[in-house]
């Protein structure tokens, strides 16, 4: 499994993501420079959090025009995996690789805290080390994380299992219609959406930061004895799926 983590000017979580992939997961991970089209043959590209190009226009609006993004577009078109975290999610929406958009939090304030997330769908490369209905805890930290899309798009994504994670209460419950300003939905996202996948099921964007809920040594300080950190399960899900795909291809070639 080989990972690539993009560095845009202004990326902040690139270092943290590389640290988790290399040191916690023990995988090969390379840094991808925004001015280069070379993806170094990675299995999964991660677009990390931060503020690409300062985000003075709209988050992710400039990053989509960078050379690395055109390479990532081709990678995705060929079925390659792409994970966008926070600003990376915003970039993917701006680039048209994911439906919808992310706008300013309803509170108008930056929010940094632990979020409870309900697993909504598990037949996919990104969230599969879980059962539907599991509640994960992964931190959020953003000022523009309110997910919006038109009603028909939201209906279609719900129907096709493209919504993988939703904000919820600690017990997994949500208010009936969501986005009513309930405290558990930290940004006002429509239908409590925290992470969505594209129709071809190889591009995933999420506002919460799995890399910051992944290192057992850090999680142990606050939640001793809580086992595999939920953030780590995202990266493990992807790695497991890539390994399975490799095996399937190997078996196919034997036939």
């Amino acid at each position: 499994m080989k990972w690539g983590v993009v560095t845009f000017p202004g990326s902040n979580d690139d270092h943290g993501t590389l640290h988790v992939l290399r040191e916690v997961l023990g995988h090969e991970a390379v840094s991808l420079w925004h001015k280069s089209r070379d993806l170094h043959g990675v299995d999964c590209v991660v677009l990390p959090g931060g503020f690409s190009y300062g985000d003075y226009l709209r988050c992710g609006a400039i990053a989509r025009f960078s050379p690395v993004m055109s390479a990532i577009g081709e990678h995705a078109a060929q079925g390659g995996l792409v994970l966008g975290i926070c600003n990376g999610f915003q970039v993917l929406c701006e680039a048209g690789l994911l439906p919808g958009a992310l706008v300013r939090n309803r509170s108008l304030s930056f929010v940094c805290r632990e979020a409870s997330l309900r697993v909504e769908s598990v037949a996919n490369p990104f969230v599969n080390m879980a059962l539907v209905g599991d509640v994960w805890r992964i931190p959020v930290k953003h000022g523009e994380g309110c997910y919006i899309a038109d009603e028909s798009t939201l209906d279609q994504m719900e129907r096709d299992g493209q919504i993988l994670l939703r904000y919820c209460r600690d017990d997994g419950s949500r208010s009936r219609d969501g986005a009513d300003g309930s405290d558990y939905n930290c940004n006002g996202s429509l239908r409590d959406v925290a992470g969505v996948m594209n129709a071809t099921r190889n591009v995933f964007g999420m506002m919460p930061h799995p890399e910051h809920g992944a290192d057992p040594a850090l999680r142990e300080v606050s939640w001793p004895g809580s086992g595999v950190p939920d953030g780590l399960r995202i990266f493990q899900s992807i790695a497991g799926w890539v390994a399975d795909r490799g095996q399937r291809l190997a078996v196919d070639s034997m036939r």
Partner: protein
């Protein structure tokens, strides 16, 4: 700008004293140019020259076996082993933040970050110490919102976690808020960079942002004078920050360092090009020649005067050998930053500046960089606030009600509303998040953990600046020890009124002496810091506020945290409780009494307490540890109940009350050198023995469990109810 003629009147308008103008004209032997007057004014301003404080700062202990870099560079550094050093400093941005809270606070964060990466260190954590007036003052809410948004807006964008801080409300800051920003970075010891220019003929480069007309005279006019009714007009002297550009500047600077391309690096903060070039040349005992035509400008037609005094943010200065210029420009191009060679080093120790081929400044470097230190007169105030008798405070009848009142009061309620707006995860290394005694960050690639805290109780320093400063150091040390860290060094941010008033100078001297004595006792040298005078408005000074930022290294494999862990654990109080209430938060909030003496200071008792807590922590005997400070035992215990991380149950506790003293003194008194710990029942005897051996008082107070906070016979309140009051109070107050 038409050429302006310089005379005594113009010099006075710049803020120079008659003696200073005399010194300038004598040194140059002619009428100085307007540019010379401008640079002399900023270099000799209180903000840049430390002329009133230098004499006293020399008394602070600055040496120790871990000290790699003491005061004198952009930040101090200490060794943490494995070939690594931590670089840190705290700095004020008070005046700009009162005038323009968002940009003032944002550029304060930007400035302190530059101080750290200028040394070649990658910043890994920040803290902020904020002080505002009372909520009765019309400006307070506006300032709180603006400053918090500014700190977050800059800090969140640059990718450095904010892991701690303090927030205090007191009417003494109604007309002068305090914004003190701290940043800590890590560097390989051998790669620490210096701001000292070396090598005649070497080139001086600028990189980063272009130079514009913003922040002109920020250091001299804004930060070196008290406020009056015209202060609002100084808004244009506040700079505007661009954190995105600073992020690029950070990465480019560290890349230049990794490539060994620069001989010296200096950030441009107060007084921009002037201060950075003068200081670098002075440190290297060299001269410097600048050609302002080479400086990248934001707009055409800027005069030499404007270029020299601009405080445009996100600019850096470096000195390099001619053969490395191309490589440096390549790094800057990679990060899309402007860069230019603007001058060279000379051997004549003169400061020469050209614009359009004409020399506009020719002054000795030493004249600019080293104005005489002043020994301003100091006098103890005649008005005393020491009158206090315990009987002045009637004992409350309903302790449950007092608890509710205190947990929801401005200085004791949860700070979550603030730190929820700060990114404290970025960096993937935060082990202990804001809200605990100290922030703890792991140094990636090692097993080392750095703990940091920032503290000052200005209620104490107002009553007695010597004792108060001692206690600020004591509290900072206890906060580190509570996480299992050994205190190592401090950076201080000394916020005071006008040094021209003898009462303020007296407070300053007393505070320095307090810091000196406490730091000597704990062997925690002062390696960096900042002085901010003129925090006063129309003769009304702020309470003396020597903010202490202290750092330490964890002695345990993972940090000790303050919240209660399990039903059945035992709560133990370490340290002696005296029957003292003067100066306490309880006396102020419940009784409106701020008279008397601060709590008793016993540095030896503090040391012994550190010893016991660290010994117990390293032997893994502590389930939790929490420092006792504002609000005393009752508030500390309540916090132990409240601070459980999201998703974990908030446990209660039942506590026996000491009947040998007034109950309110036992519950809310702020006796120092105390720590509240919880331990497994089977470890009680061991911890008691450890304390007894070290001569530290120890009292087994009660048990962890249930959903109530119970003080036997006095009060029993639901933890959930108190926690809601505590958590929601600040948001309601700031509106």
């Amino acid at each position: 700008m038409a050429e302006q003629h310089v005379n005594l009147q113009v010099a006075r308008e710049h803020g120079l004293t008659d003696e200073e103008y005399e010194r300038l004209t004598t040194a140059v032997g002619r009428t100085p140019t307007i540019e010379e007057l401008g640079v002399a004014t900023v270099m000799w301003s209180e903000h840049c020259s430390y002329k009133s404080s230098r004499f006293h700062l020399k008394k602070l202990p600055t040496e120790g076996k871990r000290v790699v870099q003491g005061p004198g560079e952009n930040a101090g550094a200490i060794s943490i082993g494995e070939g690594l050093a931590i670089v840190f400093k705290i700095e004020s941005h008070n005046h700009p933040s009162y005038i323009e809270p968002y940009q003032g606070a944002a550029t304060g964060v930007g400035g302190i970050l530059r101080d750290i990466f200028t040394m070649g260190a990658r910043p890994i954590a920040s803290m902020d110490s904020l002080r505002f007036g009372s909520f009765d003052h019309p400006r307070t809410r506006y300032l709180v919102h603006g400053v918090v948004a500014g700190v977050g807006g800059y800090g969140n964008s640059i990718g450095v976690p904010t892991v701690g801080g303090e927030l205090v409300f007191d009417p003494g800051y109604d007309q002068n808020c305090l914004v003190n920003a701290f940043t800590l970075g890590v560097v390989e010891e051998s790669r620490l960079m210096s701001a000292k220019a070396t090598g005649v003929g070497n080139l001086v480069m600028m990189f980063g942002s272009r130079t514009g007309r913003d922040g002109i005279h920020g250091a001299s006019l804004l930060a070196s004078a008290e406020f009056d009714d015209k202060s609002e007009a100084k808004r244009p002297t506040v700079q505007v920050g661009d954190p995105f550009l600073e992020k690029l500047l950070l990465e480019a600077t560290l890349e230049i360092q990794r490539g060994d391309l620069a001989l010296a690096v200096q950030d441009m903060g107060a007084a921009g090009i002037t201060s950075s070039t003068v200081e670098s040349a002075y440190r290297g005992e060299l001269g410097i020649e600048l050609d302002l035509d080479q400086v990248p400008l934001r707009e055409e037609g800027m005069s030499a005067y404007e270029i020299m005094l601009s405080e445009s943010q996100e600019r850096m200065l470096l000195v390099t050998k001619p053969e490395n210029v191309a490589a440096i420009r390549a790094v800057c191009d990679k990060w899309d930053l402007e860069s230019a060679v603007i001058g060279k080093l000379t051997d004549d120790r003169m400061y020469r500046v050209k614009r359009a081929g004409k020399e506009v400044i020719a002054l000795p470097v030493d004249l600019l960089a080293d104005p005489p230190a002043l020994q301003r007169p100091s006098v103890a105030p005649t008005e005393t606030t020491t009158e206090f008798r315990l009987d002045d405070l009637p004992e409350p009848r309903d302790y449950a009600q007092v608890l509710r009142q205190l947990v929801g009061s401005p200085n004791l309620c949860s700070r979550r509303w603030v730190y929820q707006q700060y990114d404290h995860y970025v960096g993937a290394a935060t082990a202990v998040h804001p809200g605990a005694d100290a922030g703890v960050v792991r140094v990636l690639g090692t097993d080392l953990h750095v703990a940091m805290t920032v503290d000052c109780n200005a209620r104490y320093t107002l009553l007695d600046p010597y004792l108060g400063a001692c206690l600020a150091v004591c509290e900072a040390a206890r906060n580190l020890v509570a996480t299992g860290a050994e205190p190592l060094a401090i950076s201080d941010c000394l916020n005071f009124g006008s040094p021209e008033r003898p009462e303020v100078m007296w407070q300053f001297e007393q505070a320095i002496a307090g810091i000196r004595d406490a730091c000597a006792a704990f062997e925690t040298p002062v390696v960096s810091g900042n002085v901010s005078f003129y925090n006063e408005t129309e003769g009304q000074a702020i309470p003396p506020t020597p903010t202490i930022a202290m750092v330490g290294l964890l002695r345990t494999p993972k940090p000790v945290t303050p919240w209660l862990k399990s039903e059945g654990d035992v709560v133990i109080l370490l340290g002696r409780t005296r029957e003292e209430l003067s100066g306490s938060e309880y006396a102020a909030v419940v009784h409106g009494n701020t008279q008397g003496q601060p709590p008793w200071v016993d540095l030896e008792a503090e040391r012994r307490l550190h010893q016991v807590v660290l010994e117990a922590a390293t032997r893994d005997l502590l389930r939790s540890a929490h420092d006792l400070s504002e609000g005393g035992l009752a508030i500390a215990l309540a916090e132990c109940c409240f601070l459980a991380p999201e998703g974990l149950p908030a446990l209660g506790a039942r506590i026996r009350v000491d009947e040998t003293m007034r109950a309110d003194a036992f519950l809310f008194g702020e006796s120092q050198a105390r720590m509240l710990v919880s331990v497994r029942r089977e470890h009680v005897a061991t911890v008691r023995d450890l304390a007894n051996e070290a001569g530290v008082s120890v009292a087994v107070l009660g048990d962890v469990g249930g959903g109530m906070l119970e003080f036997d016979g006095l009060a029993s309140v639901s933890v959930a109810e108190l926690r809601t009051l505590w958590e929601s109070a600040l948001e309601k107050l700031v509106g």
